[in-house]
């Protein structure tokens, strides 16, 4: 991360020295960038800006309807909307649980893959498969597993005398069941990133600790974990945000049910926009979600910035 800042000053001097060529380079840059920039502006920047703005209107999906600005009206209504805040809370639980459980289980798997065990190559390939699977297929598979009448989970439970559970249909088990699927789907990426981090730890550090008589647990605690600190924090924050924004998995698994117990915010917003056709109100919800994410991100960035400052001292 620190390498680019070291290179940058040298390059800038070079530009200043060649003067007119820099101007030619800028023109060239525009030509290079323009083809990619056009779709980005039309399909990403324009929607983004108008999405933020839509939150301040009473727009509906109906064609040719009169749209008027209503200021903070949507947001004031949102403040008192208990269903939205319930959904917001479910979203926080879902994202935090998936991010943390994924971190813990991926850490374990990465440690195993980083030690010299047999079957490692096989496990590595297997561990990547959930990453390749379409989210819809993942949800279909787990619906089969959780199926109360024909799923292997209940079959196994009943064979040892425990009554079956309607995993995705029961108020108490629906959210945990969905979280497990989120962990299953998210583990590959996190494992790969943690494994890459582990392999960039200089082996000398482990050697030195081993010479000092540190066992594998203490080496994990005092060598691996501190070295992985920044990777762990970055991966977990990203995971949290991705899960907080995710849609497909839960939509296909439960559609937010039973009784809204798995109604994560993107799903709630989607239904408000495309089923109730209240796109102004739904956009206001989107704005609130963006603010929530920006708060989380800025906490992380301030933390990073402070660390970088300390490191420079």
């Amino acid at each position: 991360m620190s390498t680019p800042t070291r290179v940058e000053p040298a390059r800038k001097q070079k530009v200043r020295r060649i003067g007119p060529r820099a101007r030619a380079e800028r023109r060239e840059a525009i030509v290079l960038v323009l083809p990619a920039l056009l779709p980005i502006i039309i399909f990403s920047v324009v929607p983004l800006v108008s999405g933020v703005a839509l939150g301040f209107t009473d727009a509906t999906l109906a064609r040719n309807a009169d749209v008027s600005f209503i200021g903070f009206g949507n947001f004031i209504a949102l403040l008192g909307d208990e269903r939205f805040w319930a959904s917001f809370g479910i979203g926080l639980i879902w994202a935090a649980a998936v991010a943390l459980l994924t971190l813990v289980s991926a850490m374990g798997l990465a440690l195993l893959l980083n030690s010299d065990l047999r079957l490692k190559g096989f496990t590595r390939v297997l561990a990547l498969i959930p990453w390749a699977m379409p989210p819809v297929v993942i949800a279909i598979v787990w619906r089969m597993i959780y199926n109360p009448n024909s799923g292997p989970l209940n079959a196994a439970l009943e064979s040892v005398g425990i009554p079956g559970v309607n995993w995705l249909g029961d108020f108490r088990t629906a959210l945990p069941a969905v979280i497990i699927v989120g962990v299953w789907a998210g583990m590959p990426q996190t494992t790969v990133l943690l494994l890459a981090g582990m392999q960039s730890i200089p082996p000398e550090q482990h050697e030195a600790a081993a010479v000092d008589g540190a066992g594998s647990i203490r080496r994990f605690w005092h060598v691996t974990l501190p070295a992985l600190r920044s990777v762990i924090i970055a991966v977990t924050i990203l995971d949290f945000i991705w899960q907080f924004n995710s849609f497909g998995l839960v939509y296909v698994l439960t559609e937010g049910g039973p009784g809204g117990r798995t109604m994560i915010p993107p799903l709630f917003t989607y239904l408000e926009a495309f089923r109730n056709r209240e796109i102004g109100y739904a956009s206001a919800m989107g704005d609130v979600l963006v603010i929530a994410i920006m708060v989380i991100l800025s906490v992380y960035l301030v933390h990073q910035f402070r660390q970088a400052k300390e490191a420079r001292r």
Partner: protein, 307 residues
Amino acid sequence: MTAETTPMPAVGDSTRTIVMGKDTARRPEKRRKMSGTKALQYAALSVYLFFLGFPLLWLLSASFKSSQELNSLSANLIPQEWVFTNYENALARQNLLMSAGNSLIVAISTTVITLLLSMPMAYALARLQGRLRAAGTVWILASQVFPAILIIIPLFLVMRTLHLNDTLFGLTLVYVTFTMPFTLWMLQGYIAAIPRDLEEAGEMDGAGRWRVLRSIVFPLLRPGLVATAMFTFVSAWNEFFLALVLIQSPELYTLPITLRSFLGAEGQTQLGPLAAGAVLATIPSLIIFSILQKKLTGGMLAGAVKG
């Protein structure tokens, strides 16, 4: 013995393996004491193997089971009677094949257009300096954390205005836009890894920028391009949310949308053909991922480290 413990490809360098080799060779007396730990490690590994592998095996086995067996409560992984009609039934459903075709068209055109558009920009990001580069990087990162739900509502309106909603072409353009942050990130990493001296040598010999790009940069970029193309294909093939919102006509459904529509109301679902269709929908992505397996970490890290 440690020679087999090759680090994750393209991440660790070969010198590290040699150092690690010394590491274990130095304390052979510890080997026997470790065997208890080893047993624990294998136990943990098998728990992971079960957790990760079981859902896949279950899907595969369900696709070969008879409907009676699928509707009974049993945890048998091996079908009591092997049935192949699930695949026939799945393929016989007109809309499954048609949506597979739609998915293929969208995924291939997304890949081609994305690469054509992002190659020049990735080059600019990797080679040119200053504010443009900083702005590009910030946008790439920001796009990773923005909730798609906020963009999809106005995007739906934009598409409706441009008469592009409910068309495969419109869906493709949206996919291009949304995969570009990732392809740019990967590609600029690969480009930054190509020594600049090579290009400068080409310029010295009097070749113009485009000539340099065509005969020096692109050939060296080919492995990176292939990996990026595969990634783009898989993400377009697997995508669900944008297609759900932007496509309304059943004859334009992509594969994930059709599979989801097969779920239907609880109880009416024909599990066998559904499982068979799910297996078929996964095969292209699986093939590509197994080819990509080694590049997976390499590409992402090339972007991260050299960025």
